[in-house]
């Protein structure tokens, strides 16, 4: 069968006929890639503009990076973004790892489907809906307790990061070989020892992938943060959203470029990590 098919394929190739070709698809695909990268490249290019203008090129300079670096508001917002993302990503990853262990090992149990659905709801509910619901809920807590710290933002970020962290961890657990764990059990390892010595080391790439995904997702959030934050709690994205309504200078491009670079680095690491087969 296969060899006959290949034989035909060779014959077809000789006549210049490819079964995979569809007229114009290549052109559209190139157009698509061009469209995806043109805006990003323009944005990066103008971050190096010596001129105040966002339209006319006035020579190469790092001026806007410098001014962004010395901008106290940008510094505060960046640190706050990182702080929230770190805490939320770690909390979400721990919770997601435990949940993934509970839903991939052993027989199915009653309520498992419901728990699975619950973990994934943040992916389905539109962000603006969650954001307004949290605004209402947190507003009443703020009134009754008087607490207005970063806790609200961290709680909200942790919740919507959990399904993202859960995804790669669960995938890793499902593709893992169970025989080693069984063998450990046969050799009188306690469940904790088996987990600590066998499961955890094998699961590690999945956990790191989940952590990075959660980190990026938290760092990128605009809508929920914008509605939940109290006064003076701008993160970098909400600061930028506020700036876009005024006259923008290439300083925003400079901040965006650094932000982009950070995302690209994390995603590349994630990509390499998830390609590593168990």
């Amino acid at each position: 069968m296969a060899s006959a098919g290949e034989g035909r394929g060779v014959a077809l190739r000789r006549t210049g006929f490819s079964v995979k070709r569809q007229t114009g698809f290549g052109v559209i695909a190139w157009l698509c890639f061009f469209m995806l990268y043109l805006p990003i490249l323009t944005l990066v290019l103008f971050s190096f503009n010596a001129d105040q203008s966002m339209a006319v090129w006035g020579g190469f300079s790092f001026r806007w990076y410098e001014s962004a670096w010395h901008n106290q508001t940008v510094q505060d917002a960046s640190l706050r973004s990182l702080q929230i993302a770190f805490i939320a990503a770690i909390l979400a990853t721990v919770a997601a790892t435990m949940a993934a262990l509970a839903t991939t090992r052993g027989r199915a149990f009653r309520g498992e489907q419901a728990a699975y659905a619950m973990i994934n709801t943040p992916l389905i509910v539109p962000e603006i809906v969650t954001a307004t619901a949290l605004l209402i809920f947190f507003a009443s807590i703020k009134v009754s307790t008087g607490y207005t710290g970063l806790g609200y933002l961290i709680a909200a970020h942790t919740a919507f990061c959990i399904p993202f962290a859960y995804l790669p961890i669960r995938a890793r657990l499902e593709s893992m070989d169970l025989t080693l764990e069984t063998a450990a059990g046969d050799l009188y390892a306690t469940p904790w020892q088996a987990f600590r010595r066998i499961t955890l080391p094998l699961l590690w790439p999945g956990i790191i992938a989940g952590l990075m995904l959660a980190f990026v997702i938290s760092l990128d959030d605009v809508v929920i943060t914008e509605l939940v934050k109290s006064g003076g709690q701008d993160t970098l994205p909400t600061y930028m959203l506020g700036q876009l309504r005024r006259i923008v200078t290439p300083e925003i491009n400079a901040i965006s470029t650094v932000f982009l670079l950070l995302s690209v680095v994390i995603v590349t690491l994630f990509f390499l990590l998830s390609r590593q087969r168990s």
């Binding site: 098919g5 035909r8 006929f17 995979k20 569809q22 698809f25 695909a29 698509c32 890639f33 469209m35 995806l36 990268y37 805006p39 990003i40 323009t42 944005l43 966002m54 919770a95 435990m98 949940a99 262990l101 509970a102 839903t103 090992r105 027989r107 149990f109 009653r110 728990a115 619950m118 973990i119 943040p122 389905i124 509910v125 539109p126 603006i128 809906v129 969650t130 954001a131 307004t132 619901a133 949290l134 209402i136 709680a155 909200a156 942790t158 919740a159 919507f160 959990i162 760092l219 990128d220 605009v222 509605l227 994205p237 930028m240 959203l241 925003i252 965006s256 932000f259 982009l260 995603v267």
Partner: protein, 306 residues
Amino acid sequence: MASARDFAESAERQDVRRRWALLSPALVIIFFAAVGPLFIMLVYSFLQKGDYGGVRWAFSTDGWFSVFFQRDIFDDTLSFADAHISILWRSVRLSLMTTLFTFLLGFPTAYFIATRPEKSRDIWLFLITIPFWTNLLIRTFAMQEVIRNEGVINTALLWLGIVDQPIQIMYTDKAILFGMLYVYLPLMVLPLYASLEKLDFRLVEAAYDLYATRFQVLRRVIMPLVKPGIIAGSILVFIPSLGAYVTPRVLGGGKNLMLGNLIELQFGQGRNWPLGAALSMTLLALVMVALLIYARQAQSRSLRHG
């Protein structure tokens, strides 16, 4: 015998208890900071609005009523809330158009990637994923750079002499459409690619043997086979488009709001929390309907194929 079974049962119960314990942190966090507040919002949609935002604890259907209707302040006559309905309609229309255009661009792209040699596919896929994981606000801002009056498109058109005045794209529905097309395109390409990658090209070959034209092969063989991917991609694009907030706010300007902005407005300057809550619930209901249609489709497919 009985004791052995008892032992097995109690071990099983213990295992289930342990697994619920493992699940509990995730479930508790999601309940308190994502799902639970939705129920509070449902309650709020049936309360009276407070004077300076917030609510008064008295039952009222005013919030839901004003989603669709308005009462004239002078003669008390009822009429449809044109402003709300036009925003609702714009949201649905722009989301459907975004879905259609991302498909028209995304399908050939996914097909292109799926038919590359195996080694280079990962690279192409990576190029699609990169914009997807970069900040949505930054991508929207980048789009603004392109479609502005002094942006890349208009500068190029002016320079080429095709137009003698910049085309106004910013602050129109077209700008929102461009923006959403740009930010949600990867969400269409990825599931389409997942389906196309599994496509058995021997079937395509068989169709050519039976004298099918290229278009017939595409229409009658490839499209039906990748239908799950098409539906998944459409849902993945349609749902976030419907609830879009950032893109219309940045690109759409003052009057061209979408549902997401209308909702936010009620909690900000509008100071009408019950209306905002009712609008939020309406959006959630629309999303649920879309998901239900999706689930139906998936179910009938699996029934047909056993």
